[in-house]
Amino acid sequence: MCNVCGCGAGDTTIGGKAVVHEEHGHGHGAHFHVHADGTAHDHDHAHDHDHNHAHGEEKHMHYHLHEDGTSHAHAHDHHHDHDHRHAHSHPHATGSVHYGLGPAGAHAPGMSQSRMVKIELDILSKNDGYANENRGYLAEHGIFALNLVSSPGSGKTTLLVKSINALNGSVPLAVIEGDQQTDNDAARIRATGAPALQINTGKGCHLDAFMVGKAIQQLGLQDDSLLLIENVGNLVCPASFDLGEAHKVAILSVTEGEDKPLKYPDMFRASDLMLLNKCDLLPYLTFDADLAIANARRVNPDIKVIRISAASGEGMQEWLDWIKAGCSKAVARKSIDSN
């Protein structure tokens, strides 16, 4: 497990179902055999095997949510069915040792069989590929998607619930909730009447574009709607993972420090809008709102800021107008693209 943030793959569930990872192929390196008669040879062999399981430890806990609202958990072991296809090539030559049969097909004295392979690919290129697919799908259907990021406890879910109630059906919308565990946040959203799907990332510290793509398919989004993605509460990792959204929206609450944008610059740099939340508490705190905004602008000179309070309603209209403008733009762009 990562010694920085505890992040690792595994145990991801979307709406309670395990996510199936792609197949893996393993290759084995050169083997060197010496036979009893003194001959020796080396050979390579590769074998493919398909893994269809969620990664992690040998035992997994799975949570199932049934349609009637009951849920249960169970543990199970992994049974790996490996289909080994070994292709051996055994060039025998009595009394000789052959080094010239490696992939390079030749051997220069003193040189190994190795060769160089240019990759030149971004480490996040897999994620970015999925994100582009999501972005294409959303654009085609006129859907305006926001990726809401913040520390845990900044008031994201409360703000979402208030926003959904205030929009009052004027915009069709759906919510994807990301948390390591529990269905609590999705349940809070569903109580507003809006469709919501919970992604549990298990050990993961962020949502990635693959998970969100699956969730989009499962939700069956309406055309010309709003998609709100509430990321895992974490100001570090979600900054790097594009989900295909139109904008990242960072939520900073005034009960945190003014210097958070400087401490976690990646997130505030990746965001187009910062919501300074819980502003109704400012009279009781020593928090300097102007300093917090100045810090955010140091990291990202273009970031838009709205001072907001889910409790008092301050700034809500500006935030909802910003959402509606984004929705109209997404719809307008769809009709331009389709003509």
């Binding site: 192929g25 062999h45 480490i123 897999k126």
Partner: protein, 113 residues
């Protein structure tokens, strides 16, 4: 940051490449990591040994090429060095700087057999 996920991404790229380029062993992996990428190089090394253990890249050597942080200063109208995303221009002190390099996270090349 999520170095574990990043190393898993590296392994995926290597395994994909092993299929198309027909190699079965990786001796060295070169990564380009920018100073501004938010990646802790030491954490990356630590995770690399753990994550590669049961893969084609087990026992592979990890070489990390650190790329300098560069930014375009609007006021000076030139490229300057920056150490962090919120750094001011080291010449004029302006914050009107646009990062142009140093956020790379790339698998550059592999030595394989």
């Amino acid at each position: 940051m999520h170095e574990m996920s990043l190393v898993e991404g590296v392994i995926q790229l290597i395994e994909d490449s092993a299929k198309t380029q027909n190699f079965s062993r990786v001796n060295t992996v070169w990564l380009e990591i920018g100073q501004l990428a938010g990646v802790e190089v030491e954490a990356m090394r630590f995770c690399f040994d753990l994550v590669t253990h049961d893969t084609i890249a087990r026992d592979a050597k990890l070489e990390i090429i650190e790329m300098p942080g560069l930014a375009w200063c609007l006021r000076c109208a030139e490229v300057v060095n920056v150490q962090a995303l919120y750094d001011a221009c080291p010449k004029c002190g302006s914050h009107q700087v646009q990062v142009t390099g140093g956020s790379e996270m790339r698998v550059k090349e592999l030595e394989v057999e």
